[in-house]
């Protein structure tokens, strides 16, 4: 059997593996045993192609994808917890070794459970008796598999989380963040200020932890050894999007990182997304308006769905509106994406969308003169586009239907909107309301101010960076010394609901397989007097 384990034991070879292959985990392992084992573990399909059958708690029959190994023991094989249920790790190097505190010096700690072997594992999987001879947790199904299937499963388990992920050394853990040369320099600076100061401060405050990691008492090694100093690398991308992949490869080759924290890539993240997936590299919570929406991916975690979220939100809010006219800027990729997503969502439910190009004066004039006035309008444009449009629509706002704008395009400063129009305008707003946001972000803003790095013009950029940093720190604490990227991602999926710190959203939530932390939206109107946004709907998800 051609085990990944032997390949990655040599550092050089592992580097070659990582950078030459398109996908770390799918490459180079062509063994049939492994493939069939993975098929059972991840899909619940037996080597003969049939669905595996199992029984839980005596008589609850399950089969196939209803309850497979991977749903509970997870992709990393490192297990999980849910409520009061603990799902133990079953990655080969843990399962086939005695379970005891990991210490390097005598005295040897007590053995909690002896190493599993072929016989005891078969007994565990088929009869629910663990290596100690005790009955297992009733949630563990008893699977009907034979010995040859077990062998295949064992070869797959051997490959799970069996070597530390790249980007981690004995003393340091490396992270990167990704920014574009084409971003506004002050935005890039606002982001880097947060990341750099936070990591600098963290390393300073935990400086004694390095000593403790080195000289930990034997019985606390497992607790102190995992400490690593953080190192941040800024991956600055320039030029055409098509060249980003090579630039990222070059950065990665120069210094592999464990994960990418945040980043600022307003348009074009799908290229980065692909790179992260191909290299099994966690890319956490970037600030982007164009995330990759396909949910099958694993390594990219997002804050929200970008412009697609605005489009989906409006389509859901306008559920009872049979016909809508949308105006967008075909020269602007963001505006076009929003319009496409909106059109798709509307037509999917049998509703009509009329498209008008923002810069086609003929169309806009026709819209202004239409009798009766046009249907509900949706405008995917920033301040200048909206201003020009309102001017061309004439001075009869009372007769036009409601106009929906997106705060992602327009911003939340609405004082430039002509007063006559304010009554007719609504915003879709996918963050906490501006009047509450200051209070909501008090904790991070206070820290930025104390470090003199606060930039009110880049509020969301800085808040997102801070959120990503905190999530990274918490997840690292939870994975202890098990620096496996898959496990790291699983921990984040698991803990987002419980985070004590805030983001620009009223609430965030994730779960295994979910990739977008915030899904909700507000519909807001413009307050006539002060010109600020006031919500007219609750925070809800499309």
């Amino acid at each position: 059997m051609y085990r990944l384990q032997y390949l990655t034991q040599t550092g050089l070879l592992s580097a070659v593996l990582l950078f030459s292959s398109s996908n770390l985990y799918n490459a180079e392992i062509d063994s049939e045993q492994y493939r069939l084992g993975k098929q059972l573990y991840a899909e619940g399909i037996l080597p003969n192609g049939k669905q595996v059958k199992a029984v839980v708690q005596g008589d609850i029959a399950v089969q196939g994808d209803q309850l497979i190994c991977e749903t509970c023991h997870r992709r990393s094989g490192m297990g999980t917890t849910e409520g009061q249920e603990v799902v133990p790790a079953i990655a080969g190097h843990i399962l086939f070794n005695p379970l005891q505190l990991p210490t390097s010096k005598p005295p040897a700690p007590p053995i909690y459970r002896p190493a599993y072997n072929r016989e005891t594992l078969l007994r565990a999987v088929t009869q629910g008796i663990d290596a100690n001879g005790e009955p297992m947790n009733p949630f563990m199904p008893r699977y009907a598999i034979d010995e040859s299937t077990l062998d295949k499963l064992m070869s797959y388990l051997d490959t799970l989380s069996q070597s530390i992920s790249p980007g981690v050394t004995d003393k340091e853990i490396h992270f990167a963040t990704i920014i574009l040369d084409s971003n506004r320099p002050e935005d890039n600076q606002a982001l880097l200020d947060v990341l750099e100061r936070y990591i600098e401060q963290k390393n300073v405050e935990t400086r004694y932890e390095s000593k403790r990691a080195e000289h930990a008492p034997w019985h606390k090694e497992w607790m102190f050894k995992p400490y690593r100093k953080w190192r941040l690398h800024t991956w600055r991308l320039s030029g055409a999007e098509a060249t980003w992949k090579d630039q990222l490869q070059a950065y990665m080759l120069e210094q592999p990182v464990f994960a990418v924290i945040n980043g600022l890539v307003p348009v074009g993240w799908p290229s980065v997304h692909q790179f992260c997936e191909n290299n099994a590299l966690p890319c956490l919570f970037p600030t982007t308006d164009t995330p990759e929406l396909a949910e099958q991916s694993f390594y990219n975690l997002y804050l929200d769905r970008g412009v697609a979220q605005d489009a989906e939100a409006l389509a859901a809010y306008l559920a009872d509106t049979p016909e809508v006219t949308q105006i967008y800027d075909q020269a602007d990729p963001l505006s076009t994406q929003a319009a496409e997503r909106f059109r798709a969502q509307m037509t999917e439910t049998g509703r009509k969308v009329h498209d008008i190009s923002l810069h086609d004066s003929g169309d806009v004039d026709a819209l202004a003169e239409a009798q009766p006035p046009a249907q509900t309008l949706v405008v995917w444009s920033g301040r200048e586009g909206v201003q020009a449009l309102l001017q061309r629509l004439g001075q009869k706002p009372g007769e036009t239907p409601i106009i929906y704008l997106s705060s992602r395009f327009y911003g939340t400063q609405t004082d430039a909107l002509p007063e006559a129009w304010r009554e007719r305008i609504r915003f879709v707003h996918c963050q906490e309301m501006p009047d509450k946001l200051g209070h909501h972000l008090l904790r991070s803003t206070g820290w930025f101010k104390s470090k003199r790095i606060y930039n009110p013009q880049a509020k969301a950029i800085q808040a997102n960076a801070y959120f990503a940093l905190k999530a990274t720190g918490d997840a690292l604490k939870q994975i202890r010394g098990y620096f496996y990227r898959d496990y790291f991602i699983e921990k984040i999926e698991h803990m987002v609901d419980d985070l004590p710190y805030t983001s620009v959203y009223p609430r965030v939530s994730m779960a295994p397989g979910q990739r977008f932390a915030s899904r909700g939206y507000y519909i807001a109107r413009v307050d006539g007097k002060r010109g600020n946004l006031v919500r007219v709907s609750e925070w809800k998800a499309p």
Binding site: V56, Q57, G58, D59, I60, A61, V62, D65, Q66, L67, T71, C72, R74, T80, E82, G83, Q84, E85, V87, L99, L101, P109, P110, I111, Y112, R113, N132, P135, N137, P138, F139, P141, K202, E205, T206, Y208, E209, H219, M223, P226, Y227, G473, L476, K477, H494, M495, D497, D498, R507, S509, A511, P512, G513, Q514, R519, G520, E538, W539, K540, A541
Partner: protein
């Protein structure tokens, strides 16, 4: 890592260690030579847990305590009850709940008022799940499927599963989930707004802050019993659920 409290490192630590090296052999020698009777010997040498002196102390207990950053609740009697409950599977109690006035949407897209739904003149079986849940919900859902099979198509029971992750679990996702667990007629999945679902969770005392903390709970209500519920905490087999169900319908 970042919330660990910095411990002071006394400069005299090595001196203490040195002292210990001289003293310890003497103490050990004293223990070895002292003429203890058996009872006294066991009293001296028993490695009791400091915070819970009378508790059991197997290697596996000590491991659990150590792995939980010296959290001694594993010795806790309540925890032992929990463990026993886990082994036997489940615990049953009677409870009365007042249903909040909220509207929910089914996996078929129908909107219903929850109090009206639960006021129907049929027995009800209720649980809480979410579609991306890994460990507990698949088993709960598989058990509902099994129960449905055991009771047969003619049974009047209305089976209800309410998602505790309403922002992700749209009616479409619930529909796919219903297909995955082969839900038959009479088993409906519901979602709603976040606030409404939390209100329902709180009303049935299953709200645990985050969906990741949820517990396996099955609720059974007899025909015409307005708010009297039988609450099954833990994982019951399908046969046990059917048994409890029949006991609810025919208390005598």
């Amino acid at each position: 890592m970042d919330n660990r409290v910095e411990q002071s490192q006394p400069r005299y630590a090595w001196k203490l260690g040195l002292l210990g090296m001289f003293l310890l052999p003497g103490v050990c020698a004293a223990w070895e030579t002292a003429p203890f009777d058996d009872a006294r010997a066991s009293a001296v040498f028993k490695l009791d847990c400091v915070t819970h002196p009378q508790s059991t102390n197997t290697p596996s207990d000590r491991f659990t305590v150590a792995m939980n950053e010296m959290d001694h609740s594993a010795h806790d009697h309540h925890a032992h009850h929990m463990m026993m409950m886990k082994q036997s599977g489940y615990q049953v109690k009677q409870a009365s709940y007042s249903i909040p006035d909220v509207d929910l949407t089914s996996h078929l897209g129908e909107s219903v008022n929850l109090p009206e739904l639960l006021a129907m003149d049929r027995p009800v079986m209720l649980n809480f799940i979410f579609t991306t849940c890994t460990t507990i919900c698949p088993v709960l859902s598989a058990s509902f499927h099994q129960v449905q099979g055991l009771l047969g198509e003619d049974d009047p029971v209305a089976m209800i599963s309410i998602t505790i992750d309403p922002e992700y679990d749209t009616p479409e996702r619930l529909k796919a989930y219903a297909q995955r667990f082969e839900a038959g007629e009479g088993w409906t999945f519901y979602t709603g707004s976040y606030e409404d679902v939390v209100a329902v969770e709180k009303a049935f005392d299953i709200f645990r802050g985050s969906k990741m903390n949820h517990e396996p709970i099955t609720l059974i209500r007899g025909q015409g019993a307005a708010s009297e519920w039988k609450r099954i905490d833990g994982l019951a087999s399908a046969e046990d659920i059917v048994k409890e169900y029949h006991a609810t319908l025919n208390p005598h």
